[in-house]
């Protein structure tokens, strides 16, 4: 009797053992978001690209896909997780020192090498800021390789904004960060309105610029229209898709969109790749 290979590198269903080393509250309330910093046990962190994901595993609950929330230029792995189902509820109950499983890095990330020399505009909404954070951290850490960086980010209320401290620090350092909330709040100094409206107001120049958007499906849809109105071509626009995922390696069929596997061929797509498909994302 032969045994299935007992090594995560060879058996893609077998997670690496990892430990939670830090937990930060991003958003509190009924739809809380926490950022978990995770260290692999007994091995170095694997290399990855911004935009790639991992399946985080809690035995007894299952596995869920999360995009890696920090740049590969930073140490450790971070995941920002919205409490929404079985696995995420358990993760939100966990503490520093608890063990989780990690499978990854999975899928195709952003082509940050191809974007060298370009201006970068990230347009995020809510928890969709996660992959964009990995991009802007990467661009900041490799500043000389890129043109101007514009971070456009919004949430329903000021309490729903992720990475607030980090973004405030970036504003202080002089980075171009454009925040918004959907409805007025006292003492809110930034834009009030939806993310695409803020984008319309900011009007980034499409020349030598890459726009990357991630957020709720409706926000992405409207943002795409605004970008096109501003003169962006489909091959200048990137997004990352969310689908239900189980295997993470292009087998189980759950995340299939037309003929592509979001987990394997994506989750990052250039817009012209998506518009060529019969089934719409």
């Amino acid at each position: 009797m032969s045994e299935v290979i007992n090594e995560p590198m060879k058996n893609p269903y077998l997670p690496y053992k990892a430990e939670i080393v830090e937990i930060r509250d991003e958003v509190k309330g009924i739809r809380p978001i926490k950022t978990f910093k995770i260290k692999l046990i007994g091995r170095e962190r694997f290399d990855y690209q911004s935009g790639q994901g991992c399946l985080i595993s809690v035995f007894g609950r299952g596995e869920s896909w999360f995009t890696i929330a920090n740049s590969p230029t930073r140490p450790d792995l971070e995941f920002s997780i919205l409490k929404t189902g079985k696995v995420t509820t358990k993760l939100h109950e966990m503490e520093v020192g608890d063990v989780v499983g990690i499978r990854g890095p999975l899928g195709r990330g952003f082509p940050l090498d191809e974007w060298k020399g370009m201006n970068i505009v990230t347009i995020g909404g809510g928890i969709g800021q996660t992959p964009l954070r990995s991009i802007y951290q990467y661009v900041i850490d490799n500043e000389k390789d890129y043109g101007d960086l514009t971070i456009i980010y919004g949430a329903r209320t000021s309490r729903d904004l992720c990475y607030k401290d980090e973004l405030m620090e970036l504003i202080e350092q002089g980075y171009n960060v454009e925040l918004s909330i959907d409805n007025p709040e006292p003492d809110w100094p930034y834009f009030v309105g939806f993310v695409p409206d803020n984008l319309k107001r900011i009007k980034p120049d499409p020349k030598d610029t890459i726009a990357i958007t991630c957020g709720p499906p409706i926000m992405i849809k409207i943002t795409l229209g605004v970008l096109k109105d501003l003169g962006f071509k489909e091959d200048q626009i990137y997004t990352t898709l969310e689908r239900r995922m189980k295997c993470g390696i292009g087998k189980c069929g759950k995340c299939k969109l037309e003929s592509v596997y979001v987990c394997r061929d994506g989750p990052v797509f250039r817009y012209d790749e998506l518009s060529a498909l019969l089934e719409k994302a």
């Binding site: 299935v4 269903y13 035995f59 007894g60 189902g85 689908r243 087998k251 069929g253």
Partner: protein, 333 residues
Amino acid sequence: MKVYSGNFLKDVITRLLEEGYRVYAPVKEGNYHVFRVVKSADETDFDYINTKKSPKEVTFPENEVLIKYGEWVEELPEQPDRLAIVGIRPCDVKGIRLMDRVFLEDITDPYYEAKRKNLLIIGYACNQAGDYCFCSSVGIKPYSSEGVDILVTNLNGRQIVEVVSDAGKELAANFELTDASAEDIEAKKELEKKVMESFTRKVDTENLEERMKRAFDSDYWREVATNCISCGTCTYLCPTCFCFDIFDDGELKGVRIRAWDSCQFPLHTLESSSHNPRPEKWQRLRNRFYDKFYYMLVRKGELYCVGCGRCSAACPVGIDIAEVIDNVPSEVE
């Protein structure tokens, strides 16, 4: 081409069992046949056109333990090192070959591979097309020896044995086989012609990719789905439907299992945000037909339908895959 004077299929099962193989073979249950693990050749019955269920479970079990866990991974399931399937029809062999492309290409699925690489395939040629069969329309010959180790044909009560692979040769060496006569060869050719003429269903695959492409947004799919109850019988029985779910069974100690899933179920794609990319049953039904006749064609260059007709035969509301594909509108407004 060789001739065996006894019942080769049964005798080969006896031999394989002696050699310690885990053998899947057709067993009669009620009014139909299914592939089961058999302990003796006496349990088997080869008087069938095809089995009710496809034999995909041999390499891709309906439920399969991936990991046994406690606080952490405790054990990985052992894999059988000698597997055989006896009596599989050419359409289902093609089904296995299409599954190979899903599980072995790109990232290798080690659980599938462990079973597949140790699998001996003893095929059984068809002498007559079933009511719902249309394999000849999707490029399969019902007497094809492609992908088998040995192919057996029932020729007027005698068993013709074609040894195809090295593993087949090794196994066949245990049996007294005589060379087929010129008459036998001629008779087999006649039989093949007769089988091809026995198909009552034909599907027009001419220009299908283009037709499917154009018909995607057609109301046709809503019409086809009118009576569909999203039961998933079609995907369950299909030899090439490979979608699966993974879940943990047991809170503190248990097993991580993969189990067949179906794109016909809304839960298959429902996200925790409550967003569902295919909320309507007609979208899910369309997905199945497009996956078989367009998406996989784009991805792998092959149709993912082998024309076994199981889904049509078992559909509780009479949706017939051959008819559905044949009627895909070529002109769409």
